[in-house]
Structure formats: C-alpha cells, structure tokens
C-alpha cells in the first residue's frame, strides 16, 4: 500500500481498516447509481449484440436465398441441357434406325411374300388314297380266278403289271415332289433368319427409344421439381453439387500433379532455348517459358472442349455455328499437336542434357565416362510422356467447369455457415454480457453486505414499531 494512503503510518492495521470502512460506505452510498450503470452497460451490450446478430442473420438469409436461386437456376439449366441431349440422342436414333423404316418395311414385306409363296408351293399333295390299293387287290383276285384259263390269266396278269407300274410311277412322282418341297423349305431358312434378325434390330431400336423416353420422363419430373423450387430438389442439387465439388477438386489436384511433371520435363531443356541466366523476378525465364507453354496447352484444351461442346465455359464459342466450331476445333487440335511435338523433342533434349551433365560429372570426378546400357528406354519414355501429357491436360477443362460451377455454390454455403456461426457467437456474447452484468451487481452487494444488513434491520425494526408504514423497500440483490 502506498505511504500516502497510510493515515496512521505507525498503525497500518488501523489505516487499512479505516480505508476499508470508508470504501464500503462509499460503495454503499453509490450502490443505486452503480447498479443502474452496470445494468445499463450490460443491457446496451446485449441489445447491441442482438442487433448485430440480427443484421448478420439477415445477410445470411439473403445470401442463402441467393445461393438457393443460383443452385436452382443451375439445376434447371443442367436438367434442360440433359433433356436437350436426350432429345438429340432420340432424334439421331430415329434418324439412324427408323429413318430407313420404309425400306425396312418393304424388305420385310418382300420376305413375308417370298415365304408365303414358298409356303404355298410346299403344300403337300397326298398320294391317292386307297384306290390304288383296291385296284391292285382286285387285280390280284382276278389273277387268282383266272389261274386255270391261260388267256384270261395272261390278260389279267398284264393288267396287274400295268397297274403296278402306274402305281410305282405315281409313288416316284410323289417322292420327287416331296423332295422338291423339302428343298424349298430348306431355302426358306435363311429368309426366316434374315427376317428374325431384322425384327430383332427393330426391337432394339424401338427398345432404345423407349429407354430414352423413360429417361426423359425422369428428367422431366426432376425438371418440374426444380421449377417448383421444392425442398427435395434443393437437397438433391446441394448433395450433387458437393459431390461434384469434391470429385472435381480431386481430379484437378491430379491434373496439377500431371502439369508439374510436364513442367519438370520441359523446364531444363527450355534453358537451352531461352538461356539459363535471364530471370523474370525471382523465376528463371526458362521456367516461365515452360510454364507458359503448359498454360497455352491447357487453354487450347479448354477451347477444344468448348468447340466440341463438351464444356460450356465460354458462351461466345457456344454461340458459334457448327462450321466455325469445327474449324476452331481443328485449329486448336493442330496447335495442340504442334505443342505436343515440341514437348516431345524437349523431353528428348532433357535426356541428352542429363546424360551430358552426368558424363561431365564423371569426368570431373576422374572416372571413366560410361554411357549406361538401355539409356534409350527412359529417353523414349520421356518423349512419349512429353507427347501425351498435353492431350491429357486437355481434359482438365471438364473438371474445371464442374469445379467453377460447384465452387460458386459451395463457397456461398460456406459463407452462409460462417455467418451463422458468427451470428450465434455474437448472440452468445450478448447473453454472456447480460448475465455478467447481473453477476457484477451481486458481487457489488457482497462487498457492501454489512451496511445492507444494517439497513434491513433498521427497516424491520421501524416496521415493527409502525406497522402501518410500508416496508417494501427492496434490498434486492438482483
């Protein structure tokens, strides 16, 4: 305790006691305004926090509504795109399979007519019923009866022989015609098979169209749900967008690694072309040049995918007519081919430089310079990689598009979540400030509990003496 506070320096205890009593009395006297001050400050803080949280929640709700709008609009656009694609597929299937339907119908009719005709021709003509048998039987009886009369017997015998001959001839003809019919039936088999395969093809085409129409039905119901802005549709779209975001991010990371390998392949040989000493800021110019080549490849890949209508990042390209897009695709593919060739040769040069450096190191170390066997294998591998990687990087456009579209939604949702947490935090702070104010008031009363108790006793004794006097003076600690 500072010396100036000691009223009786020779008796510190008395000085402290005096100061304590004075302080308690002062606090007792200032109790009401102090309570009001504490309560006011706590309330102001609480109200301020509430207002702030309200404002943050309002922003969060607006952002959530905007996110919802964006999500639904993108979902609607995507559904439209898918329906459009399905209709295009149906159209091409109809053009391809059913466009030739009149010819197919004619072919089927011809096949049916031919089969019908053949069928009529194969109708079986049964042999004469029992007449031949009866005639032969009668001829036999006549031969038996005329057994004793040689002339008659001879005549009957001749007759029988003639009849049997005629019968045999008739049977031969019947057999011949049966053979012909079987031949005709055998010839009908390919026609049946052809018809069967034609009909299977028709069934497949029609089945495919039915399948597509069922898919269109599903898409249409999805489209209707999205257009109706239903919660189910929103949940589905959110889940789908998150999946897309994760997958696209993963693929982009893989593609970045591919780009890094590509960079490593061409950075060193680039120094042969642009020099190893010049710098652009903190980077070597050769590194910048290699990076630029890779970025150009990715850009060409984007344009190629865009002109093939696989991605839709640039509406300007999407609006071009088919001929211009074909030209653009051809141009970008040509540039990619040239760049792939350049990269391949740079990769080969890298191998040569590495071998040269290794030889120099061996020479400097005093060892005999040796060219390891099978060094052509990594050289060829590097050349192939140098040629393939630019085309592989072309496909970055697809995950990039998904990433751009989905990140818009995901970022919005992350901000909404963060705002929600901040609003909750601010609310909690206001609540804590309010309760801290109450606790502070109680603490204040604990310090001045003695005068308060005395006050209570005084009031109670007065009340006992004057029962009519109201003793509702509160000693609230609240």
């Amino acid at each position: 305790m500072p010396g100036w506070m000691m009223l009786w320096p020779e008796n510190p205890a008395l000085s402290v006691l005096f100061l304590l009593v004075t302080l308690i009395l002062f606090l007792y006297g200032a109790r009401a305004p102090a309570h009001r001050g504490i309560a006011g400050a706590a309330k102001a803080l609480n109200q301020g926090c509430k207002l702030t949280a309200q404002g943050i929640r309002s922003v969060q709700e607006r952002l959530a509504a905007r996110n919802r709008e964006v999500l639904l609009s993108e979902g609607l656009e995507d559904a439209e795109r898918q329906i459009d694609q399905e209709f295009q597929r149906i159209s091409s299937a109809v053009d391809r399979d059913l466009g030739g339907y009149p010819a197919l119908h004619r072919r089927l009719s011809d096949q049916v007519a031919r089969i019908d005709e053949d069928y009529r021709r194969v109708t079986d003509t049964p042999p004469a019923p029992d007449s031949w048998t009866q005639t032969l039987h009668a001829a036999g009886e006549l031969v038996e009866k005329a057994g004793t009369q040689p002339a008659a017997a001879k005549a009957v015998q001749a007759l029988q022989t003639a009849i049997e001959q005629a019968h045999d001839d008739a049977m031969d003809k019947y057999r011949q015609s049966s053979r012909d019919r079987h031949d005709l039936l055998a010839k009908m088999v390919p026609a049946w098979r052809s018809m069967s395969s034609t009909l299977t093809r028709v069934e497949k085409s029609v089945g495919g169209i039915f399948e597509r129409s069922r898919r269109i039905d599903e898409l249409m119901s999805e489209y209707r749900e999205i257009a109706a802005k239903s919660d189910v549709a929103e949940r589905k779209l959110t889940s789908s967008t998150l999946s897309q975001f994760v997958i696209a991010s993963f693929v982009l990371v893989v593609a970045s690694l591919g780009g890094f390998i590509n960079f490593q392949l061409i950075a060193l040989p680039m120094s042969e072309m642009v020099g190893a000493t010049s710098r652009l800021g903190s980077m070597q110019t050769s590194d910048v040049a290699a990076l630029v080549i890779i970025l150009i490849e990715i850009t060409m890949g984007l344009f190629l995918m865009e002109s093939l209508r696989i991605t839709r990042l640039f509406p300007v390209i999407g609006r071009l007519d088919a001929r211009s897009r074909r030209r653009m695709a051809f141009a970008t593919l040509s540039i990619l081919l040239i760049l792939a060739g350049i990269e391949s040769s740079l990769a080969y040069m890298r191998d040569m430089l590495a071998a040269d450096r290794m030889a120099l190191t061996q020479q400097l170390a005093g060892a005999t310079v040796q060219r390891p066997e099978f060094m052509w294998i990594p050289a060829v591998g590097q050349m192939v990689m140098g040629f393939i990687l630019p085309f592989a990087l072309t496909f970055v456009a697809i995950p990039l598009e998904s990433f751009i579209h989905s990140s818009r939604i995901v970022l919005g949702q992350v901000i909404v979540g963060a705002l929600r947490v901040v609003a909750f935090g601010v609310d909690m702070f206001g609540f804590a400030a309010d309760h801290a104010g109450k606790a502070l008031k109680n603490l204040y009363d604990v310090v001045v509990f003695l005068p308060l108790k005395i006050e209570d006793l005084v009031i109670q004794s007065r009340a006992a003496r004057v029962p009519t006097v109201s003793t509702d003076r509160s000693t609230s600690t609240a």
């Binding site: 020099g275 190893a276 652009l280 800021g281 040269d356």
Partner: protein, 218 residues
C-alpha cells in the same frame, strides 16, 4: 476493350516486366581461384585440381570462373591461366567446362615452383576481374599457406577495396615456424582477416576441403 484500356494494360505489363527483370542483385556467381606455386606449396597442386573439379561441377551456366597462379608478381595478366563466363546454354557451358578442365590439367602438368609469393597482387588481380564481370556473388579463393614473400621493391602494404567480396583461404598449411610457435600461424591469418575486412570484404579459412560446399554456398 477500348484503345485507352489496351494502352494502360500494355504499360502496366511492361512496367511489371521491367520491375521483375531489374532485381537488385545481378544473377550468377563469380569465383576466382588463386593457386600458390611457390616453394613447397607447389606439391599441393593435386588438391587444387580437385577443388577446381568440384567448383566446375557446382557452377551453373552464366557463372564466372577464373584461375590464376601466385608467384613473384601476381598482379599481372600472364599469371591468369584461364577465366571464363560460362554460356547461358547448359550444353555449351558443359563444353566450356571440359575445355577449362583440359587447360588446368595442362597447367598442373607443367607448373614450376616460384621463388616468391605475391598473394596481395593476386587478390587485386582477381577482384579487378570480378568487378569487371559483375556477378551477383564475388568470391576469391586463395589456395595457399598465406605466407606472403614479395620480391625486392614490390609495394603491397596499402588498403584494398574488397567491397562485397568474400575471400576464402583454402588449405592453409602450417609452416615450420608455425609448428614451433602456433601463434605465428594465428597471427598470419589474423593479419589477413584484418586486411580483408578493413577493405569491406569477408574473410574465412577452410582447411577441411569437405566443407567447401557449405562455405561457398554456391
């Protein structure tokens, strides 16, 4: 895009490139190796050759490397064996290193012991060349016992301007008197340190050549 915006874009791009291209320290390193050929130290030439080989292996295209011998009057172009700034293309730089190696090999095969040791003259010659080439980092390596023995009439007791130059004494062997009184060795090195640092340079001693990579930080 209108013409004004395009012009502004071009100006901004050019300014960015210029700013990026004109960084404070020039790129590359410059190393000048002085080889003492006097007296018994000439026997250490094999180790000097190893140091040269190591340096050649670590130097990049665009770096500068020179080698000179220290003899009776080292402040002279005739003592410079070879000096080169390697080409910026790695393949050409490798060929230059091979040529460098050949010249150094020819020197070590034919060198004769010198009667005097003019280290200061060699340092002045090295610094002059390094300042002329202007690399980002300038290093003078002195492969010597650091015992200067000037011919009659040579004046070398003046301050040297070694601003921004690292002077590294390599393989400083102990002489006979050093063994008798090691303080002689320490005093010799301290005098050199004082001379170099008073001229604005940095001085270091590396006797363990395995530590050369750390000390040079090339």
């Amino acid at each position: 895009m209108n013409r004004l915006t395009f012009r502004r874009g071009c100006v901004a791009l050019a300014a960015a490139l210029l700013t990026a291209g004109c960084s404070g320290v020039p790129p590359g390193s410059g190393v000048f190796l002085l080889i003492d050929t006097s007296g018994t130290y000439a026997a250490e030439l094999d180790r000097a050759e190893s140091v040269i080989n190591y340096l050649l292996g670590t130097m990049d295209p665009g770096d500068s490397f020179g080698v000179a011998r220290i003899d009776g009057g080292s402040f002279s172009e005739k003592d410079i064996l070879i000096r080169v700034t390697f080409d910026e293309r790695p393949s050409v730089a490798n060929d230059e290193k091979r040529l460098f190696l050949e010249k150094v090999g020819a020197f070590t095969d034919t060198v004769r012991s010198a009667s005097h040791t003019d280290i200061t003259g060699g340092v002045l010659q090295a610094v002059e060349w390094l300042n002329e080439v202007g690399p980002g980092h300038k290093t003078v390596l002195i492969f010597s016992d650091m015992e200067e023995d000037l011919p009659e009439g040579f004046v070398r007791d003046f301050p040297m301007d070694l601003q921004g130059v690292r002077v590294i004494a390599l393989n400083v062997t102990k002489l006979g008197p050093d063994n008798v009184d090691p303080r002689v060795y320490a005093t010799r090195l301290d005098e050199w340190r004082e001379r170099v640092e008073s001229g604005g340079g940095q001085f270091a001693v590396i006797n363990d050549l395995e530590r050369l990579d750390i000390a040079l930080d090339l």
